[in-house]
């Protein structure tokens, strides 16, 4: 946290972004991830064995962070980032390093197959084929992470199926090509079973192409550790936040659609680090985010006011 502030000052408002081609994006530095069970071993094994992975779990419990972490871990030793030109970065590999780029696609209901595979574009010289992110990931041997996959249109399953069985191919209908995936390619999808609706569910034929790793909010002690580490608040504050998280999640079946995610707890912690009073931080980061119903708000606030002075 503190370092980031300093760097902004030293660069004096220079733009700080970096630009990568999608398949060249590597997780550069070690993301913080606190393993709870054997998920690291499972994912590594699946990666080595080319088994696609389905991550199940409620929102904000660390699925995306986990994938990032795995991408970093599988690509170790560290890749080096060296800025070339203005903002454009290329990442050089050192000896013994593996390139494991991470391509993340947040799925939404208008996401079509050609958004993923690619399309022809018109330009001054005629037409040009542009690879979609999935094609690029397949070619580059990246970890392709489809977040909230149930949201995507049904025609995407046409692409997912051949990629996820023994064939590991991506048929590109329009160019009339078939791309065999790079050896390091892995498809990973996430899915939140809590949103279950009769109209939106993952088909079994799709589900059964993946191993499923279940995620849940970590146990109190571990969550406190995570919150402390991520938000930079004091360990007492982190412990209280984790306790709050646990208590609020107890209301999940009694009015709250979702419990307070670890992410929200971290937000609250960050606000506290910035000097916002604890109760206020929890109110804006947790209470008001979770529900609009006045009585529920009040109840959660009472829990907050019991835990925090």
């Amino acid at each position: 946290m503190v370092e980031a502030v300093e760097s902004v000052e030293s660069e004096q408002n220079e733009p700080q972004f970096k630009e990568y081609a999608i398949e060249e994006f590597l997780v550069r530095s070690e993301p913080y991830y606190r393993p709870v069970g054997d998920e690291l071993e499972l994912f590594t094994a699946a990666y080595n064995q080319h088994i696609p992975v389905l991550l199940k779990g409620p929102t904000g419990c660390g699925k995306t962070r986990f994938v990032e972490y795995m991408a970093w871990r599988l690509g170790r030793p560290m890749t080096v980032v060296r800025p070339v030109d203005s903002g454009r970065a290329a990442q050089e590999l050192r000896e013994g390093e593996v390139r494991v780029p991470l391509v993340t696609i947040a799925c939404h209901e208008d996401l079509t197959a050609s958004d993923l595979v690619g399309r022809y574009l018109l330009d001054s010289e005629g037409t040009r084929w542009i690879d979609g992110p999935m094609t690029r990931a397949v070619k580059a041997g990246a970890i392709l992470y489809l977040d909230e996959v149930v949201e995507a249109r049904k025609d995407t399953t046409v692409l997912i199926h051949p990629l996820t069985d023994h064939r590991r191919i991506l048929p590109v209908e329009k160019t009339g090509q078939i791309i065999e995936a790079d050896d390091r390619f892995l498809l990973c999808i996430s899915y939140n079973p809590h949103y279950q609706s009769a109209l939106k569910d993952l088909k079994h034929s799709t589900r059964q192409r993946f191993i499923s790793v279940e995620f849940d909010y970590p146990p109190v002690e571990i969550e406190a550790e995570i919150v402390e580490k991520e938000s930079g608040c004091s360990s007492e504050q982190a412990a209280s936040l984790a306790k709050l998280g646990e208590k609020v999640r107890n209301l999940r079946d009694h009015g709250l659609a979702e419990g307070a995610s670890t992410r929200l707890l971290i937000y609250a912690g960050r606000l506290m680090t910035e000097g916002i009073p604890a109760r206020r931080a929890c109110q804006v980061a947790i209470v008001w985010t979770l529900t609009d119903e006045p009585e529920l708000q009040r109840s959660v606030e009472e829990v907050v006011s019991s835990i925090f002075e």
């Binding site: 022809y120 009769a198 107890n250 006045p294 009472e302």
Partner: protein, 1086 residues
């Protein structure tokens, strides 16, 4: 034709002024058509008789002849003559009267039944007293008669006339004025007229001048009063009048204003109060009504009762101060209102407290009023003390310890947190065999062995011992407490020490309420008795209690027992540790007991006390403890027997900590658990339970408060009921008639009658279908009263609007832009470019290059299957009930309206059955479904035996929603058994014919499927479950999404098996059904 009689009459008439003759001639012509010649003769003769009565009677006769043609049109001849004769008599008394009478007649006779005419004339006559003023009054009466007769029943006219007459004795002017007012006022009054007239009548005997004012204020005043209450209000006025309250018109205007201001629906209650007050001191009623408005702005209607009853008590003692009280002119009244308005009712915050408790404990805790628990009669007796039975937290209904609502709420919170802490930090999880964390040495095992050995030595019969041991060991806490000779002392110590542990833990875990807890503790501390006045054992316990309330400094300690007190403080300090568990409390109890029980319970002399600071008594060490014990033992041995001194008495309870009954909680939990795992081990019999209760230290404490020993068996029964144990002597399976094993026999069935269908049934043992096994008879449900439907909507109006809002939110999704359509409103540029590029690259382009709005139409078909089995007739335990407080309005006035409605609801709910909630939910659901236009059918099912599966149509899926469906809902009743499988299969048939892409089947049940030959308790439960599972699978295969909702708490056991990976929900709280059902449906289809 002979003209003789007429000639004779004409000559008679000629004697009078010529106007008479003129009138006669004019009239005679018109009359000829109406009457026969003989009748005409009589008519003419009557005219001359009228004229001949007095000197001025000829004027009456002229009027008579003038109106006759009109009157004759409405009356037959006999009635006509009767009418004419009335005029004759009147004219005898006063010609002017007769003139008025005749003048009014044409308008009257057409509206009045002929037999009433003489009575009407009599009314007018009765007002005439021979004076000029009275004749004016009487004439006025006839004048206003046409209007009145037209708009009032004759009976009321008579009463009104008699009122006028009564008034006329006092003042003719007032009587005339009232007569004129009454003509306009009475007709608009409606049915309350009678009461109003009765009141005026009462008034006319006394303060008659008020009558006129009453007539003046009444129309406006009565408007403010609810229909149906008006006559009660007027009756009240009448009774007040009768006892001599003079200002009746003031009462009318003030009273009606006050009533107009109270929340809708509570006028009846206010009138109840008024009537009560009337019986005590009538004079207090007007002041009460006058101050009502002001009072109601400060307190709720519940609190008003409290204020009111206080006033009534005062009235009984001293009427004057009572009246001042009701005028809110006394300090008592003012301060009571102050307290009431700052007090907080549990009802108002129950929802919040409940969720708070659930969040803290992580289990579905209910927050209930303590009144609830007392009513259950299972061993808790104190209404004002918070407690918990392990699944529910009971809180006092009202808190008024502080001067403002915030502080009172904090009190609730501290109390609730303390109760939940028992659950959260495991007071009830005490396990005899689990080691303590902070105490090293375990003293309970040696003690138990010692105790056992002792008992054998005491030559107790071996059989008895076993039985005794068994019951005592039934709960772990019971086993622990049985180690002690003085169980009450041990239990008191355990309670105090456990509270020390919890309060400390709460302060560590919830620093946010530390301050509030300190305040509450300080308050509790101020109520503690003086330590110095207590005998030694009790004084030491009192010291512990004070320390538990965070009071360590300047504690009075007996000089001779300083060492003991310090040791106790050390023991207590061990528990002030966040890692201490309940087993530590138990070990601490053992040690504290060993010290205190060895002391003599004698009062210490006053000068033998020294103030001590106990904040840091030093660390506890087993060695020091043991040496102290040895010392005590030695002195005990030397001084002879211990236990002398005063008998030990339990300390005053600390009110915010409430009743702590771990043994009862463990007992209930255990009973419930045994119930759920039948067959494993011997369940506890009622006798054993009674024995257990007798031994319990927890009940011993309460025995002082009431003669509980006698009701021990009632307790035992209630407890067993609470735990869900069936009453003795009931064999499972009974009530379904003789067990017909041959039901399995027999062969396929035929559908012979129309509207019957035959379905297969899945036999899991054979792993195959039994072909054509069940006959489903489809019937349309009878029609009842639509009132049920309408009432449900009314009762749930707030919830309904919430549901509707939620459903309306679904709608906008359907108006989205839909891309990639073959045709549509406009070209989708992205798609078109892509297609153009494809064409250039000679790739077959996608032709879906348009977008369009509102193409996806929501197309859902759903079938709801309601369980109409006999078990739905079960009354719902009111204790389970949670009212939806969510919509409680903040505005005090609205809140009172809301509260009132809810209270009314509660009264009805006494008799509510599961089916009633199903019905109400259906009504709400229909509203919701109609608002989004889904295609839906609602069916009920029941039946007996496989040849009689009844399938009731409430609303067929093809049917439109009509009045008839509202009527059918009324007729949903509990019938027989539940053969779910066949009902589901028939519902599938219904849904199959629908072509919606989304089809849903929603099953609402209250228990596992069962029917004759389908599921027999204990014999083959699985059969029914498997068949139902198979039926649901069949649905799924046909692209129907099944969903099961059950209100059976034991539902988790079999639903998992029954529904597999299909959706289901067990509704823990049946009261939530009306709310949950539409929401679930929304979730399922959104």
């Amino acid at each position: 034709m002979s003209n003789a009689p007429f000639d004779e009459i004409e000559s008679e008439l000629a004697k009078f002024p010529p106007a008479v003759m003129d009138a006669y001639r004019e009239s005679a012509e018109a009359m000829e058509t109406s009457f026969s010649p003989e009748e005409l003769a009589l008519w003419a003769k009557e005219g001359s008789a009228i004229a001949g009565q007095t000197v001025r009677s000829w004027e009456s006769a002229v009027e008579y002849f003038r109106v006759c043609p009109q009157v004759a049109r409405s009356l037959a001849f006999p009635s006509f003559m009767q009418w004419a004769r009335c005029g004759t008599y009147l004219s005898q008394d006063s010609p002017a009267l007769a003139v008025s009478f005749f003048k009014a007649s044409p308008a009257i006779v057409s509206n009045l039944r002929p037999q009433y005419i003489p009575r009407w004339a009599g009314l007018g006559r009765s007002l005439y007293k021979g004076t000029w003023k009275s004749s004016t009054l009487s004439a006025r009466f006839f004048e206003v008669s046409p209007d009145m007769i037209r708009s009032l029943p004759f009976w009321d006219v008579e009463v009104f006339a008699s009122l006028i007459e009564a008034l006329s004795y006092k003042s003719y002017d007032i009587a005339v004025e009232c007569l004129t007012l009454g003509k306009d006022v009475l007709p608009v009054m409606g049915r309350e007229r009678e009461a109003f007239l009765a009141m005026c009548r009462a008034l006319s005997d006394g303060n008659w001048r008020e009558v006129k004012s009453c007539f003046e204020v009444a129309p406006k005043a009565l408007q403010q009063i609810e229909e149906g209450q008006t006559s009660r209000f007027l009756k009240l006025g009448e009774r007040l009048t009768k006892v001599g309250i003079r200002d009746t018109s003031r009462f009318l205007s003030d009273g009606s204003y006050a009533l107009g201001q109270v929340p809708q629906g509570s006028q009846a209650h206010i009138l109840d109060l008024c009537e009560g007050l009337l019986a005590v001191t009538p004079e207090a009623v007007p002041p009460f009504l006058k101050s009502l408005d002001g009072v109601m702005h400060r307190v709720t209607i519940n609190q008003l009762d409290t204020w009111f009853h206080h006033g009534v008590q005062l009235l009984k003692d001293n009427p004057e101060s009572g009246i001042a009280f009701f005028k809110v002119e006394s300090n008592t009244s003012e301060s009571l209102l102050e307290t009431l308005s700052s007090s907080l009712e549990l009802d108002r915050v129950k929802g919040i407290v409940r969720l708070y408790c659930r969040a803290l404990s992580g289990s579905p805790i209910e927050a209930l009023s303590t009144q609830e628990l007392v009513r259950r009669n299972i061993g808790w007796v104190d209404q004002d003390t918070a407690t918990t039975d392990g699944t529910k937290v009971f809180l006092p209904p009202v808190v008024d310890h502080y001067q403002n609502k915030e502080q009172n709420f904090s009190w609730f919170k501290v109390v609730a947190t303390h109760q939940v802490a028992h659950l959260e930090f495991g007071s009830f999880d005490y396990d005899f065999d689990k080691p303590a964390l902070l105490f090293d040495e375990e003293r309970r095992y040696p003690l138990e062995r010692e105790l056992g050995a002792q008992q054998v030595n005491d030559d107790v019969l071996v059989g008895d011992l076993e039985a005794d041991g068994q019951t005592r060991a039934y709960t772990d806490i019971g086993r622990f407490l049985s180690l002690f000779e003085n169980r009450r002392l041990a239990f008191d110590l355990f309670t105090v020490l456990e509270d020390v542990r919890l309060d400390y833990r709460i302060k560590v875990e919830y620093p946010g309420i530390r301050q509030a807890a300190i305040d509450v503790q300080a308050q509790a501390l101020s109520l503690r008795p003086e330590v110095e006045d207590l005998p030694l054992q009790e004084a030491l316990i009192e010291l512990l209690i004070r320390m538990s309330l965070d009071h360590f400094n300047n504690l009075p300690v007996p000089v001779d027992f300083q060492e003991e007190a310090t040791m106790l403080a050390r023991i207590l300090q061990v528990l002030r540790d966040a890692s201490a568990n309940v087993e530590d409390t138990a070990e601490a109890t053992l040690r504290a007991y060993e010290i205190i029980s060895r002391l003599e319970n004698e009062t210490q002399p006053e000068d033998q006390w020294e103030p001590e600071d106990m904040e840091e008594p030093g660390d506890f060490s087993e060695d020091e403890f043991q040496s102290l014990l040895d010392k005590l033992q030695a002195s005990q041995n030397s001084s002879g027997d211990a236990g002398e001194g005063d008998p030990y008495d339990s300390p005053e309870p600390v009110d915010y900590r409430g009743d702590f009954k771990p043994e009862m909680v463990q007992l209930l939990t255990k009973l419930q658990m045994d119930q759920n795992q039948q067959g494993e081990g011997e369940p506890l019999s009622q006798e054993m339970l009674e024995q257990l209760l007798q031994d319990s230290a927890e009940l011993e404490l309460d025995a002082e408060q009431g003669d509980i020993n006698n009701s021990m068996s009632t307790f035992a029964q209630n407890i067993m009921k609470e735990a869900g144990v069936p009453p003795p002597n009931s064999q499972p399976g009974q009530g379904y008639g003789p067990l017909l094993h041959d039901d399995d026999q027999g062969g396929e069935l035929e559908a012979r009658e129309p509207k019957t269908y035959v379905y297969d049934e899945w036999d899991f043992r054979a792993n195959d279908y039994k072909p054509r096994w069940c006959v489903v008879k489809e019937k349309t449900l009878d029609e009842g009263d639509p009132a049920f439907y309408n009432d449900s909507l009314k009762n749930y109006s707030t919830l309904l609007s919430h549901i509707k809002r939620q459903f309306e939110l679904i709608m906008p999704e359907t108006f989205r832009k839909i891309y990639r359509m073959i045709d549509g409103e406009d070209i989708d540029l992205n798609a078109a470019l892509e297609a153009a590029a494809d064409i250039r690259m000679k790739v077959p382009p996608d032709e879906k290059i348009y977008w369009r709005r509102n193409k996806i139409e929501r197309d859902v078909s759903v079938v709801f299957l309601l369980d109409m089995s006999a078990s739905t007739a079960e009354a719902i335990d009111e204790g389970r009930h949670t009212v939806d407080d969510r919509d409680a309005p903040d505005d005090p006035v609205e809140y009172m309206v809301w509260l009132r409605r809810r209270r009314e609801g509660l009264v009805r709910r006494h008799y509510k059955r599961i089916i009633d909630l199903e019905k109400e939910s259906t009504a709400l659901l229909i509203q919701a479904l109609e608002s989004i236009g889904d295609n839906y059918g609602i069916y009920g099912f029941s039946g007996y035996g496989r040849e009689n599966v009844e399938f009731y149509v409430i609303k067929d899926i093809e049917e439109n929603f009509t009045e008839r469906i509202k009527r059918r809902i009324d007729k949903i009743t509990p019938l027989h058994a539940t053969r779910m499988g066949s009902a589901i299969r028939h519902a599938i048939t219904k849904l199959e014919n629908q072509d919606s892409p989304t089809k849903i089947m929603f099953l609402i049940s209250d228990g596992r499927p069962q029917d004759r030959g389908y599921s027999r308790e204990g014999v083959e439960k699985e059969y029914a479950v498997h068949d139902t599972h198979m039926a649901l699978l069949e649905a799924k295969r046909k692209d129907i999404t099944p969903f099961c909702l059950t209100v059976d708490k034991a539902g988790h056991d079999y639903l998992k098996e029954m529904c597999g990976d299909m959706g289901y929900e067990v509704l823990g709280d049946i009261w939530a059904l009306p709310e949950r059902l539409p929401m679930l449906y929304r979730q399922l289809t959104a």
